[in-house]
Every structure is written in structure tokens, then in C-alpha cells.
């Protein structure tokens, strides 16, 4: 079963969406990311794996410039999306983040109604012309996030009243409501139980048809299940990057092998 999926996955490799060249990240004196080069393909799920503190989340947060909010953080190198340098002076990070959505480790819905949670992004970006269009965006987003059936009768109830798994799917709905081109997910399942995790993973696989998804995960099984490409980070270095099937079955670097067999990390 797993083998069949792996074969199917390799077929879908598309053009390059995000390209990073020589990326260095410093937190004050600490050199957190060391010279990372990576090409992230369009309409693909790319997983970042590695032990805690290896810099995978830091690198993920470089892709939508969330690191800008940390005063001591410094990013060097070049990251392009569709050939445009996102660290260029002309780029407004606010505009960038509308294109590069993000789902966080802990579900963090706004303390507002389910509807307002999803509608917030489209509203501030002026994506809708009227209420009917907004309703439609909310419905499609919730449908895509597989939350519509559970939430359609309680749209005006607070998003914080949902269960953990539902909250995370609400956050995914919120992130895709602005129709981003890339979806970044920072350990989206770490606070969820296995059933909710399975739902979110299924969702990620469906989202692949429209977005380029980058997911940071602690669970190698998850990386193997959902991703087509996998990058292994260790101590701030990108150790190995390639087809998921190849990384998990036939890693070329000894460090990758020790990690996936459980000897380090």
C-alpha cells in the first residue's frame, strides 16, 4: 500500500516554486541556519525533518518573513518565490504573507466566531466585493479544510470552542481563505490526537493539488506519509534533500541514516 503511494508521488514533481540560495540565519550571536540551498517544487508537499533545535522551523519562518518580528533575528542569502526575491526592499512582508499562508504548531484561532476567523484574511486583503462573496470564500475554505460539515451550523460560535483537531483545521481554513500560493505548516499535528492527525494529513494531501505545501514535522512517519520531498536538517545544516522515498529507503548521508533509524535526535 505504502509502496504504491510512493510510486504515485514521484510522478507529480513540478516546477520550482521557492528557491533558497546560501541562506544564513543568526539569532544575535547564534548561527541558526548555515548556508542552506533548497528548491521547493510547486504543487508538492515538502517535509522538513530533523531533531529539535536543528533550525527547520526557523528556516520555514524565513519563507514568509515571520522572522522579521523577532528583533535579534538576521537573515542573509537569497530566497525567491517565482523568481522574485522576498527579502528585496520593495517587498512588503504583509503582502508576502497573504501569498504565503502559515499554520502554526499550536492551534491559534482568533477569539472570534468561526465565520470571522475564516473571513478575516479575505476582509483585510479586500478579496471580496460583497457579503455573498465572503460567504462563498468562507464556505469553500471550510470545505477544503474538511470542517464544513462540522461547522456549518455553528458559524457564529467562537472558534475557540472547537476541539483541538477542529481548531487546527479552522486555522488551515483561515490560512487558505486568502488563496495563498504556498502553505507553510509548522508541526501542525503536534498538539493533535491520532484521529485528528489523520484528518489533517488527508487534508494536506488534498491541498497539494492547489498549493505548494511545506511542512515541518517531528514525526518521520508523517513525513513519509504526506510528503513527496523531504529535507533533513541537522544543527542548522541542510544535510540531505530529495525524494521522500529515496531519503527514507536509501539515504546518501550517514547522518540522515542515523536519524531515520533512530540513532540520533
Amino acid at each position: 500500500m505504502d509502496d504504491i503511494r510512493l510510486v504515485e508521488k514521484t510522478v507529480n514533481a513540478a516546477g520550482v516554486k521557492i528557491a533558497a540560495r546560501g541562506v544564513q540565519v543568526y539569532y544575535g550571536e547564534t548561527h541558526a541556519i548555515k548556508d542552506v540551498d533548497v528548491d521547493i517544487a510547486d504543487r508538492t508537499v515538502t517535509a522538513f525533518i530533523g531533531p529539535s533545535g536543528c533550525g527547520k522551523s526557523t528556516f520555514l519562518r524565513c519563507l514568509n518573513r515571520m522572522n522579521d518580528t523577532i528583533p535579534i533575528c538576521r537573515v542573509e542569502g537569497k530566497i525567491t518565490i517565482d523568481g522574485e526575491d522576498i527579502y528585496d526592499k520593495r517587498v512588503d512582508p504583509v503582502q508576502l504573507r497573504a501569498k504565503v499562508g502559515m499554520v502554526f504548531q499550536k492551534p491559534n484561532p482568533f477569539p472570534k466566531s468561526i465565520y470571522d476567523n475564516v473571513a478575516y484574511g479575505p476582509k483585510i486583503h479586500g478579496l471580496n466585493r460583497n457579503k455573498a462573496e465572503l460567504d462563498e470564500i468562507v464556505e469553500t475554505s471550510l470545505r477544503k479544510a474538511a470542517l464544513w460539515n462540522e461547522a456549518k451550523d455553528r458559524l457564529s460560535e467562537p472558534g475557540t470552542g472547537l476541539s483541538g483537531g477542529q481548531q487546527q483545521r479552522l486555522c488551515i481554513a483561515r490560512a487558505i481563505a486568502t488563496s495563498p500560493e504556498v502553505l507553510l505548516m509548522d508541526e501542525p499535528c503536534s498538539a493533535l490526537d491520532p484521529i485528528a492527525t489523520a484528518q489533517v494529513e488527508e487534508l494536506i494531501d488534498e491541498l497539494r493539488s492547489q498549493f505548494s505545501v511545506v511542512i515541518v514535522t517531528h514525526s518521520m512517519q508523517q513525513a513519509a506519509r504526506v510528503s513527496q520531498r523531504t529535507a533533513f536538517f541537522h544543527l542548522g545544516n541542510l544535510v540531505e534533500y530529495g525524494e521522500t522515498s529515496q531519503i527514507f529507503t536509501n539515504p546518501s548521508d550517514p547522518r540522515t541514516e542515523s536519524y531515520i533509524t533512530g540513532r540520533i535526535g
Binding site: P109, F110, A175, T178
Partner: protein
Amino acid sequence: MTDATFSGAVPRQSLYAPDEGMRRRNAAEARFRLYGLIAVGIGLVALVLLLSSVLLNGASSFRQASLLLDVPLDAAVLDKAGDRDPEKMKRVTTIGYGKLLDTALKEMIASKGIVIEGLTDKDVSDMISKEAAALVRNRVLAHPDLVGQTVSFKVLANGRIDGYLKGRVSMESAARDSNVSPNQLRLADALREEGVLIKAFNWLFITAPDASELRPEAAGLGVAILGSAYMMIIVLVLSLPIGVAASVYLEEFAPKNRWTDLIEVNISNLAAVPSIVFGILGLAVFINFAGLPQSAPVVGGLVLTLMTLPTIIIATRAALKAVPPSIREAALGVGASKMQSILHHVLPLAMPGILTGAIIGLAQALGETAPLLLIGMVAFVRDYPGAPPEGFFDPASALPVQVYNWTQRADPAFVERASGAIIVLLIFLLIMNAVAIVLRRKFERRW
């Protein structure tokens, strides 16, 4: 290894028999709880004592002795020209009205058949408050067509008569008092029996301006309430936006460096500066330098704003800090700008805390006396301040200053009124707290 621990183990003790250490620990625990209980008890006792003393002393100030008189408003006295022109009628002073009231009371006494040995005319006319004539005059000038009719008036009785009804003045004390005679008290008893002298709710206490030393019965809180209200408006309008803006900048935008640390320390220090220092500052800057009028609510409001700002800033910053960073990240993550994330998410979540801080600050400002003494709000003000915004520049008093003022006066009737003023002040505070609670409920959300 396991053998060793077994052989070295103490003999098994029953769970039913607590050992010495456990007993001591439990005793300490019980004592710890007792200390807390005692502390709460002391606080409650102090609160009850405070409230009961204020209520016992002050509640009576809301009810005042008054005389029900039928006053013939003689046209020959009040309106010699006969054309009911208020301008011309103003020539008749309170003395003229006072005589009418005296006559009315005398007639009332005669018609009820009250006879008291040795009662002089002066005794009778002193039964009526000196303020009563002025109140009647104002009423007549406002309604000139009353002239010529016999109108029923409820006029204030003299403060000593009021004190007699409230048990403050007795026959013995009256014999020693040059302001009241035992005969007057006997007359008061007789009038009370006839239903002429009554004790009724006294709106004048809330609406009337302050009165002079000799007329405690007429003294009211009107000017003080207006002055305090004006100042609270100024404090709220100035300190809330300035305080919130400063806190948002310091908390969300300011770089963390030595300068912001310095500012932070100084704001905390400002919160601890004695309020009278702010009074001196207000006197020097707002009155002497800027030339704003003395005794004006605008100066009081500005001084109290300076005093309230640190409180609001500290509370607001704490409230902003308490908003989980995940909410900010979520907002930024969907592409909200910093301002949007603050206005749409952070501030609404911090609102309950901000409001609590603002209300604590306002309550402090409402009760503040010392700085107001320095900027001249302690003055004796008889005229109501005008409507805002011009009224902010008119002389006014303030509730706590009025309390201070009245406690300084000799007549014990003013002590009663000071307690009454404290009750009004407390009611204002309760209303403000109630508003804060309602607003907090409205803004409070789970996250």
C-alpha cells in the same frame, strides 16, 4: 541492591497513625490558612466600620427639616410697578421676601393656636433658614405671575432646628447656644405636631451650591458634583487615549534598549510620586506659566490626568503583555499588518485589563484632594460652572475638596454634610465600578 534497601527500611508504619513530621506539617498548614483568614477578617472589619460610620453620620444629611408655609406673595411689596417685569422685581431684595416669610410663619402659628411663653418675633423669624428667602425670591423671579397669589412653599428650617429633629441639638445645649433658644425648640415641637415642620428628602443637598458657615442647612454639593464630573470627563478623554497609545508603542513597537528601559523605570516611578507634587506642578505649569484660570476644572483635570497616566500605562502594558503571542502570530500569518493585528486582535483582547486600569485610575483621580487644594479648587464657589466646554474654565469645587472643606467648619451640621458628601462620592465610585464591570463582561472572551 534491592536486598539492601529492604534490610535498611524503617519498620512499616500504619497509614492510620500520622507521624510526628506529618502532624507538624499539617499544623503549619492550618496556621497558614488561619493567617489568611485573619487578614481577610481585619479587612472586612475595617470596611464595615468605615461604611457604617459614614452611613450613620451621613445618611441623615439627605433628609432635611423644612417648613410648609402658605406665603401670600403681596404685589404691593414684590412688584410696586405692577407690570410683573422681572427686571424691576429684582429691586426687591431677600430682606423683603424674608419679611413675607416671617409674616406667613407668624400667621401659621396663630392659626394653629400655638402659644409659647416668652416667644419673641426674632425667635420666630430665626426658625426659617436665611437661605429660604433667596430660594423663594428665585422662584418668584422665574414665575412672575405667582405674585398676588398665596403660594404654598416648602422652605428650609434653620440648621439648629434641623439639628434638633436629628438629635444633634437638645434643650440643654440650646440654653447655652446663642444661635437657638429653648423656646424655638418648643415651637418646633408644636409645629412638628401640627405637620408644619417636616423632615423630607432634600434635593438641595445634591443640587445646591455650597453655603456660608452660618447656613449649613442650605449647603449642597451641586458645584462640587459638576466640578468633579467635568474633571473626570477631562481625565478620561485625555488619559485613556494617551495612556493606551503610549503603552501600545512601548509594548509593540519600541525597540528594547536602554532608552526604553529608562522610560519604563520612570513611568513606574511617576506612579509612586505623591499626588501633592502633581499639584505643585499644575500650579507652576498650568496656572503660573500657561495662565489658565485658578479653581477651574480644566486645570484640575490636567493635573489629575498627569497623575492617572502612569496607572493606566502600567495596567495597559500588563494587559497587552498578557495577550498570547500566538494571536499576534496568527494575525501576521494571514497577512495582517502590525496595526491591523493590534487594532483587530490585541487591543480587543487587552480591553478588559485596560478598562480595569482606567477605572482604577479614574477612581483614584475622583478621590484625590491634595493636588486640587494647590490649584485653588478649595475656594468657596457659589456659582455653577457653565456648560462644557466653556464651563471647564469656570471656577468649581470638587467632591473630595468639599468634604475637606466642610470638615474644617465649626458647626457640627457640616460634619453630617461631610459624611453625606462622602456617601455621594462612594456612590459615584460604585457607579464607575459597575460600568467597568459591565464593559469588562462585554469584552471578556476566552482564548
